[in-house]
């Protein structure tokens, strides 16, 4: 049973921030509500006030400018999935969206809401980490910017202080000769990840050396994480199968997976070892073609 609440529908970001400042702790932000309503039905969350930002049109956009592509926080998953700019510049992001839950959820749910939900098994965050995205958080005293990899703090906990809202996601322009991929391992195709891996590889000019690599993992720690040590194994080297295998082994040491009804801790580690090399290799192949 959902407890009743007072419902506000600000029309601008400013109005929304004013409401958040006023109601503080007793208040929750809803946008697509695809996660929040489930928590409310289970009685896990029971806010007195709800600030509904679904109607704030100034937060729903996909803009392409010199700093990269900017996605407003209330942009639906479906808009990201269908965007010509995204498909062209960051195909991995659109591909990730096609496997995120169902069409219905993507039609109403938003990418900002997903990021703020802080589910370590969520799909967008690993991809955004691999793409080196930053988040713009708005508050009563202005905005601040934070790399997406630092945003998640713990299970379902993100770096949003009272009165703050996620406003925008910025993805920098991909360097030349970069390829990125995402996969999630699960049993049912459209399900949440048991383990997910996003990888982005940038090749140096001509010589085939891995100039930069970013590897992000989902569902193997309290938050989505970046496997920095694994990246180090590959960075500045010509990628070989042996190095990839090593990167997988190293990535596994960076995780702290749990055992649950879907997979044991041990199995999750093995999946990391299998999927990190496989996905990095795919990213490499894409980089070569780029």
């Amino acid at each position: 049973m959902i407890n009743d609440f007072e419902h506000f529908t600000p029309k601008t970001l400013k109005e929304a921030l004013a409401l958040l400042a006023k109601y503080g702790d007793d208040c929750k932000v809803i946008c697509g509500g695809q996660s929040l309503l489930i928590l409310m039905r289970q009685g896990l969350v029971s806010p007195k006030y709800i600030v509904d930002i679904k109607g704030i049109s100034e937060l729903s956009y996909i803009k392409d400018d010199k700093d990269g592509v900017k996605i407003g926080a209330t942009t639906t998953h479906r808009a990201v999935e269908k965007s010509a700019v995204i498909k062209k510049k960051y195909p991995v992001l659109a591909e990730m969206e096609t496997r995120l839950a169902s069409v219905q959820t993507r039609n109403w749910g938003t990418i900002g809401g997903n990021v703020c939900h802080g589910d370590p098994a969520g799909d967008p965050v690993p991809v955004l980490i691999a793409l080196n995205a930053t988040l713009t958080v708005a508050g009563a005293r202005g905005t601040r910017s934070i790399p997406v990899e630092n945003f998640s703090l713990d299970y379902f906990e993100v770096d949003l202080k009272d009165g703050e809202l996620l406003a925008e996601i910025t993805i920098p322009p991909p360097p030349p000769r970069t390829g990125a991929v995402y996969t999630k391992f699960n049993i049912i195709e459209s399900d949440l990840a048991t383990v997910s891996v996003a990888a982005s590889v940038t090749l140096g000019a001509g010589d085939g050396v891995c100039q930069d690599v970013r590897i992000a993992l989902g569902a193997v720690a309290p938050t989505a994480i970046r496997a920095k040590k694994a990246e180090k194994v590959l960075k500045g080297k010509k990628i070989t199968d042996a190095l990839l295998k090593e990167a997988g082994e190293v990535a596994a040491t960076e995780t702290e997976p749990i055992s649950d009804i879907y997979a044991s801790e041990e199995y999750r580690l093995e999946l990391v070892k299998a999927l990190v090399p496989r996905m990095t290799k795919e990213a490499l192949a894409r980089a070569k073609k780029a």
Partner: protein, 159 residues
């Protein structure tokens, strides 16, 4: 405190006062009285409550009714034109794309939204389009066949 919800359902305007916590599915079933839309879970997982909201498929158990303010909702009751069933409805009949029928309204709404957006989906796209809907009876393939038949033009829209 109740708030006013103004929206259209199957073309008919409604003005209803609802508690903010009311879900779209509850308004449709309990207040508007359209019980074709079903509910099969409470975790946004089964798709039985799927309706079209401004042309998009959404799970009406996962949308606050007040968020539908100013929108146009189409439910399964809005698919037929008078006594003429829609092409998908007829294709479902011919292909046995339902058994117990409890998921059928949601399946039809997902399929209708799919074809509204993409009139020529591939088989994979059809499967993706109904992947948010669980059917415990048919095994889905009969539903995919029905949608495919409509895509192929085997069922014409009623005039």
């Amino acid at each position: 405190m109740k708030k006013e919800l103004k929206f259209k359902v199957n073309g008919q305007p409604y003005e209803i006062f609802v508690k903010p916590k009311t879900l779209l599915v509850e308004v449709l079933r309990d207040l508007v009285g359209l019980t074709g839309t079903k509910r099969g879970c409470s975790s946004s997982s089964c798709g039985a409550c799927t309706v079209m909201l401004d042309g998009m498929a959404v799970k009406s158990c996962s949308v606050l009714a007040l968020q539908a303010n100013g929108t146009e909702v189409v439910t399964v009751e809005g698919l037929a034109k008078g006594n003429e069933l829609s092409p998908l409805q007829r294709a479902f009949l011919d292909h046995g794309s339902y058994q117990c029928g409890f998921c059928t309204p949601g399946m039809l709404m997902s399929s209708t939204a799919l074809l509204t957006e993409n009139p020529r989906p591939t088989k994979l796209e059809i499967k993706e389009g109904i992947d948010g809907n669980i059917c415990r009876c048919t095994g889905y393939n009969a539903i995919v066949r029905a949608v495919t038949a409509v895509v192929k033009g085997e069922y014409k829209e009623a005039k």
